[in-house]
Symmetry: D2
Subunit: 341 residues, 4 copies
């Protein structure tokens, strides 16, 4: 059996695991006040080219989205997001449970564009009855998106320009950031991304760690008493150093970059394999998620050798499916897959 | 340096770490739907003597308290708790952030008693203007309490009898359960505890795991759509098997019991050492937290060789301090400590 | 100046005012426990043909929507509604502020249809990953809708059948109910409406009262401790009898029916007047809100003699506008309006 | 029967009712954007001696407390209040339902003192583990208190000095303000009260209006987008002018002052009557609430001629009771009461 359901099916990258083993018997203070965590934050800020920023470590992605958004929004503000956004569809209402509306905009393969955002906000402010509407208080995008697509540097700069014009924060969900930065055709560097938003997070869970997401901001003033808010949300890890240790590994020897590159290389091999055999792309993604429209009989056959996700509703003759690669995907896994189509 | 600040300063117990290493490269489905998690749940239910129960795994204690209480309470209900309760003092307002009042009762060394609970509820229902007051919708206690003390079987049964009389759930916070069950004089078994409440959790974080708390209930009907609520709270671990694997280790070869016993044995050695030298107890605790009233100069001296917590406000001549043991505490650590007083 | 902005620009209908004056100096118990409130509730239940129901009086519409929905939904449920719904657009995020997602469906002139609702729910339950999505826990519709349209008896029955099939409540917002029931072509009676949903409210504010909305349910078991929840939401009126007195007037001598009929008669006169002069309808509404597409110069001219609302964004040559009638609209007001187009 | 249960048993003061009748048939814009509301706000600011302030009108007291506190507190802040405070006991958990903890301090007959507040805050900031505790983000007091007592000017200034020292707002609940300002021995004027806090409200409901509370602040910068937040809480009155009209009446010809004085005069007559007959005070209140400890047989007898509240639990021989006066209390009512003891 080869596994392509998702990028959270296996444990930690061996280098991360090794660090956890090495440090296991050490005593440190709790709640992320330890030296590992401090060092990891410094390494990350340096990699991002941020001088006076701040890094906060959380355990998972839904949690990170909920806590960051709760910090950035006033009680009667909402967050602008694509209708396909993780926060709108796959978080069980976490954002609303904190009192905030997800204001959805149309998307292009999962991506928002600066014009739509700008028009929505302009419209909102053009009408003085807006006081009974939810104010768009921030913008949320993902890099890559739920559909595996990425923003170009231009697109990102344009979105951020709109946010600055209206003085609302831009937050980038980087649950799969490694695969976005490593994508074919990606013209955005980690540093450029870090500077073209107010806050983003570097996904660990889906990019080689056991768990962990690193929230990075160049504007710490937007995050007053944030450690307290993290605790209020039950998102503080007692043995906080586990996050520091893992991210220290991810940002040593360019491991985070290498994990992203490996995942994307495997994804491109897989993509080429399917395309060469004439299967149409369902979505054209340059990252570690690959979407095809496959005949139902092929799908049934494939299920015997591989695990993967049916993407949406089963069609009469063909159905969209998703294959996901990660640091653990092997060339031989892809070969097995391709041999069966 | 020897370490007695808390029971979350070190990594995982070697047997747990070994299991994590062994299973690291396996592929499993996410979100706790894997076999490790299923097996761990079964082992736990068996250990608890529960036939038709349910186990849910969460990451940390504050999170577990918040999510369980949010499930058990109706929107306009509150939770009865000791004024010293973790949920009232040390969770940054997590319970209130979900809309619920913590209704505090007086305590005896951290413990509630059945009579006070009963009187409060009786008083509430005696007055028909109670519709503008917060209804006491459940009872929260800890075993052991914040102050290291434990309930006797009788005390527990009496509290649970009150809860059943008024048909409100009793929830026991077992963040340090291993040390409670192993305490000198404890006359409650895990099975008796499991049956004398509606839901409780078995603490992993402070009892040998990297992280993890196992919520156990004999009344699954109280937890409809609970996995969804856990997600809403950002408390779902993507690589959920990490929790299953750890608890599987904890409930194999009686590891959980052994960890508790070791922690308590070390605590008793420490306690005897201080008492033999004439230092008064600040609180008389039979578990892994030990509280003494020490002269300030002794405290200053001790700080050079040991880490521990000042408990409350510094006094003029003497100050209360807390020492905490866990699975990693060594006899030699205690000896160093005692040699310095 | 003649006034057509909305149906909340003037005080109470004279018969209501008279009752308030008559009862002003009486002493009664507070919080709606008085006899006026009791009598009003009985009269309403009788008018609705409900034997074992319950009536709750609240002050305003947004408040009523928020409190009713908060009672009906579990913490991790959402409410299905048209994208144009008042709860989705004009309540400043009140529903989300209580933790609930508004799940929007497409609409036809403000109306939902049974098929779309059914498909959405079916789709939700077809996928076992729905545990990370917001469960559709109830359906919200308005009668009439935000756009003045009404449901036929068939449409209503079909929607309610879907709700019963999936065992989720149907809630009807009747802020302008009087005008809906009195609409040309309405084939639904108050009794039929009351029986084709689980809960609805009879709007007072926009239908002749100073303020007040009467929540009516044939299923009181869905509203445990509801008076307490109303208080929690700050929606309990201390001098609660003011609501009882007003609804007692509205449900005496068929005043509520007459108010609706007058409003609609004035609206139809207005509609005919505009249509006769060749102005196109923007929305075809049979109730007290009328929508036309008017040339911008006509709009400018009209503003000098009448107040009304620009509906949406100003167009280059023509712009949609809304005129609203109510119990206080006079034939002569309409004549003045029509004389100026 | 004579009525002393509470100060919300009767309709509006005749002068207020007259204004409502006079203005009933006028058309005005909704939601408090009308001229009556504007004029009322100006009159109130002038009466308070505030130049650049802001007034917001809401419907009821619990609602006002909830909305103001929700505006002033950050998500992870709590409000300091007396354990007897209305927000802690009689609002069904409204404050917590918005996510905020009520942090209780001991009281002296319902009053907080500056020292206790200062000590609590100092203690909070002295400990760096406070990040896991709820930050005291504001102070709430009532004038008069739940027990009818009032603060002296000195006491008020001292409390406000503490608030300014720690830069947290002071909010005064003035549900019964008229009776407080008119109290025997009150050395605080409306203007002094307005300047010795950041925000307070002038109670209408219990002081002669049908309903309505006027929130007054000298620091509008603390209330960004407050009209939107009021709407979100369902607290916006569509026919908002009803609030403006009533407060315009209350602040014309010193009606608010006169209402307070009348209520207190009646209360003092009542108090003297009971004391002359030797019945002990339960609480010594200088305002319109009077508390006595009466023999149970007297209470039973009194119930036949008068309505009043049993205050707390019935004792074996004597029981505390409360009598409340208001603008509608007549000398003859008191005489009847006193003739029966």
């Amino acid at each position: 059996m080869v596994f392509f359901d998702s990028d959270y099916m296996v444990g930690a990258h061996p280098e991360i695991l090794a660090r956890l083993i090495d440090t296991n018997s050490l005593h440190t203070v709790g709640y992320g006040r330890d030296e590992f965590t401090k060092d990891a934050a410094e390494k990350i800020l340096k990699a991002c080219g941020i001088d006076n920023g701040q890094v906060y470590f959380l355990v998972g992605g839904t949690q990170t989205n909920a806590v960051v958004i709760d910090r950035l929004l006033d009680h009667n503000d909402g967050v602008l997001a694509a209708s396909t956004a993780h926060i709108n569809v796959h978080e069980a209402g976490a954002i609303e449970s904190n009192g905030h509306k997800v204001i959805t905009l149309p998307h292009d393969n999962g991506k928002l564009n600066a014009h739509d955002i700008s028009e929505y906000i302009k419209q909102f402010y053009s009408d003085d009855t807006n006081e009974f509407m939810v104010r768009p208080g921030m913008v949320y995008i993902s890099f890559p998106t739920e559909l595996g697509t990425i923003y170009s540097k231009d697109e990102l700069e344009n979105i951020y320009a709109v946010c600055r014009r209206y003085d609302i924060p831009l937050f980038i969900d980087g649950a799969r950031l490694a695969y976005g930065l490593a994508a074919d055709g990606c013209d955005v560097t980690l540093q450029e991304l870090a500077h073209n938003c107010d806050v983003f997070y570097i996904g660990g869970t889906k990019c080689g760690a056991l768990f962990g997401e690193a929230v990075v901001t160049k504007r710490p003033e937007l995050f007053p008493r944030f450690r307290s808010l993290i605790k209020l949300h039950g998102a503080t890890l007692a043995k906080g150093r586990l996050l520091g240790v893992q991210f220290l590994a991810l940002f040593s020897d360019e491991l985070y970059r290498k994990i992203g590159e490996h995942g994307v290389r495997m994804a491109m091999k897989l993509k080429k394999g399917f395309m060469d055999k004439g299967y149409p792309l369902f979505i054209d993604s340059p990252t570690n998620q690959q979407f095809f429209l496959l005949p139902n009989d092929i799908i049934e056959h494939l299920k015997e050798v591989a695990s993967f996700e049916i993407w949406g509703t089963k069609g009469e003759k063909t159905t969209p499916v998703r294959f996901v690669t990660d640091w653990s995907s092997a060339e031989s896994d892809i070969d097995i897959l391709l041999a069966n189509i």
